[in-house]
């Protein structure tokens, strides 16, 4: 992203909670980030770290109740999404902002043809006639690499393989030339070879169409391959944020460092055991007055247990939420 360009999406202090019978679950705690035009932001974290919930809250896709955005600001091209009417929000969804979800097997409606499901957003957002929309739908299927596109429009989702269905989902998301594509673990449910194809496809499409992408994943390898910037989430918070090269070269947060150690390396020594992160992800039942990672952290000290660290800058566009300084290997004084 060119420095200084206005971000397409700017999120400040977003807090999303789920009101359940057992009390409030703070799924997203004061999350702030931005996405520039044409940029690819990777969001990494384990299951339950709040990465999907964060992105789903942005466009009001969480079921409410139980989910509720309690505070924060979501600016899409400068206008606050939270203050938008339902109709304005609908115009964004599927129009300016496209979504791809995790499980292509269940994300498409089984009783409608792929063509029908592709034509829907085209008619709503672009006001195309049925015929024009169908022609455009065929183009889109062709764009995402589905052979014999025109004929396949009248097929049902169950007649496509998993990878092909995910291509259809991508075609739906891209239908109305979105400026922002939110991809929620789009490759998690797929075979590794298909994963590679989908990643390659998104990389190509991004070059052709130039939209910004938020790519949610728990696979660091995927992020390393395609992202410009990476955001690491843990316990509903952003614990580290850096350009992709910087993050892999110079990880600061103990959690990021531990995550990197869990990735097998082709060039590593054979006898080195693959590390795992001990312990369980934190329960999000209450807003913590301590670092959420404290219980699993190897560098934990007394301050971590009584205070939740704020994000602090450690380099150019690189910040970390930790009291421990990875460079000096000592508690940070500030």
């Amino acid at each position: 992203m060119p420095d200084g360009a206005a971000p397409i999406l700017d999120v400040n202090n977003l807090k999303t909670i789920f009101r359940t019978r057992d009390g409030e679950v703070h799924a997203v705690n004061s999350v702030s980030f931005d996405v520039g035009p044409g940029e690819l932001l990777g969001v990494v974290g384990e299951s339950g770290s709040g990465k999907s919930v964060t992105m789903m809250s942005l466009m009001g896709l969480l079921p409410s109740p139980p989910a509720e955005i309690v505070s924060g600001e979501i600016l899409y091209q400068g206008s606050d999404v939270r203050k938008m009417s339902e109709a304005q929000l609908r115009d964004l969804r599927g129009g300016d902002v496209g979504f791809v979800f995790q499980d292509p097997m269940t994300s498409l409606n089984p009783v409608f043809t792929v063509g029908y499901q592709l034509v829907e957003p085209l008619q709503i957002h672009m006001g195309l006639s049925k015929k024009a929309a169908r022609a455009r739908a065929a183009e889109l299927l062709d764009l995402v690499g589905i052979p014999d596109a025109r004929k396949r429009l009248s097929d049902y989702p169950h007649q496509f393989s998993g990878g092909m269905r995910q291509r259809v989902m991508i075609a739906i998301a891209l239908a109305c030339d979105p400026k922002l594509l939110i991809a929620d673990e789009p490759t998690t449910a797929l075979d590794v070879t298909i994963q590679a194809q989908i990643i390659e496809l998104v990389r190509d499409l991004r070059q052709q169409l130039g939209m910004a992408i938020v790519w949610i994943t728990h696979d660091l390898g995927v992020v390393a391959g395609i992202a410009d910037r990476v955001m690491v989430m843990y316990g509903g918070q952003i614990v580290e944020h850096a350009p992709v090269g910087e993050l892999f070269a110079n990880p600061q947060h103990p959690y990021t460092r531990a995550l990197l150690e869990t990735v097998p390396r082709v060039d590593g020594t054979r006898d080195a055991r693959l590390r795992s992160i001990q312990g369980q992800p934190p329960s999000l039942a209450a807003h913590p007055a301590s670092c959420p990672f404290a219980a699993r952290c190897g560098h934990v000290f007394d301050r971590c247990l009584v205070e939740n660290p704020e994000r602090r800058d450690v380099g150019a566009r690189h910040d970390v939420a930790c009291f421990w300084d990875a460079r000096t290997r000592e508690p940070y004084n500030g």
């Binding site: 969804r93 496209g98 979800f101 409606n109 009783v111 739906i172």
Partner: protein
């Protein structure tokens, strides 16, 4: 799909033959005596002659075979003659299935009673579905809202309170106290102008509503459960992410999927319409098929009971097939062959 339907129809033939035989055997084992309701002054040997005249002196397999010939051959031939005006063979001596009590052909009796049942019970089914589907949809969409709570109460009440109770309750309230509707259904009433049409509507309202309440309470629960299942699905989120209006998400994407099991339930319930609502027909004095069956059983009118029961069996087999075919049409994942 077409060959599947044909194959299923072919399979239905042996099934129905076996059913008809079982019905015949069961009715034969019942300790019925068609002369029991005759005056006690008739001496036993005369009674025996009456029984012989009805064909009861012959062994069971022969009587079954005769019924088969009458029902599967003579009656259809007779129907064709009536429709086309042709004469096929010796139509005078062709034996039809005759009711022991009324001495008239059973099929004619059924044809006479059918319109009342179809109007009252069929209408109640349609009204029930029309009430049930919106209730189910809204209840599921606004789960645990006051509307849903009320809907649950409504269906619990409708399902657990028997129709003879609601029927009598309606009569007490609307006929006796308010005097809005007649309590007895006049089968001989003919609709000729607006006034007589209005009378027909008024006399139908109570029996239709009693049955519709019962049907609606069942179907609305199915509808609600099915909607709730589908509202959880990922494709609903996809539909919202495409920017569809909430109404379109609900009434196009979710409803179409939710209707699949409900349509099956509805199709399987259709034979019950023809079966009539025995109790409700009795309460409101509707001369329908249910009432015909009850009278037939009470007077040991075996040919009538046998034929009616068998027709119900045919309808059940047929609508099972209809349900399966509809399932295949609604759900592209289950297209046969």
């Amino acid at each position: 799909m077409f060959t599947y339907t044909l194959r299923r129809l072919a399979f239905a033939v042996p099934t129905l033959l076996i059913i008809s035989f079982i019905i015949f055997v069961i009715l034969d084992m019942a300790p019925n005596d068609p002369t029991a309701s005759l005056p006690l002054t008739i001496p036993p040997e005369v009674r025996q002659q009456i029984r012989d005249a009805l064909g009861l002196d012959q062994p069971m397999p022969i009587r079954y075979f005769k019924w088969c010939v009458q029902f599967f051959w003579n009656e259809p031939v007779n129907l064709i003659e009536q429709w086309t005006g042709w004469t096929i063979g010796d139509s005078e001596s062709r034996l039809r299935v005759i009711s022991w009590q009324t001495r008239s052909p059973v099929v004619d009796l059924i044809a006479e009673r059918m319109p009342q049942t179809l109007w009252v019970v069929g209408m109640s089914y349609v009204v029930g579905i029309l009430i049930a589907i919106p209730i189910g949809v809204i209840s599921a969409y606004k789960q645990y809202s006051w509307f849903d709570q009320f809907g649950t109460l409504f269906s619990m009440a409708g399902f657990s309170v028997p129709t003879f109770f609601t029927g009598l309750l309606f009569i007490v309230i609307f006929s006796v106290n308010l005097q809005w509707f007649p309590s007895v259904y006049d089968t001989t009433h003919r609709v000729t102008d607006w006034d007589s049409f209005w009378f027909q509507v008024r006399q139908m309202i109570m029996p239709v509503m009693v049955l519709a309440l019962f049907n609606a309470s069942q179907i609305s629960r199915f509808m609600r459960a099915s909607m709730l299942d589908n509202l959880q699905q990922d494709y609903v989120r996809t539909a919202r992410a495409k920017g569809l209006r909430e109404r379109a998400v609900l009434l196009i994407h979710v409803l179409r999927n939710s209707m699949i099991p409900v349509v099956t339930v509805i199709a399987l319930g259709v034979p019950q319409i023809f079966g009539g609502a025995i109790i409700t027909e009795q309460i409101f004095r509707v001369n329908g098929l249910g009432q015909l069956l009850i009278v037939g059983i009470q007077s040991a009118d075996i040919p009538l009971v046998q034929t009616l029961t068998f027709i119900f069996a045919v309808l059940i087999v047929l609508f099972n097939l209809v349900a399966d075919v509809l399932y295949g049409i609604l759900d592209p994942r289950i297209r046969y062959d």
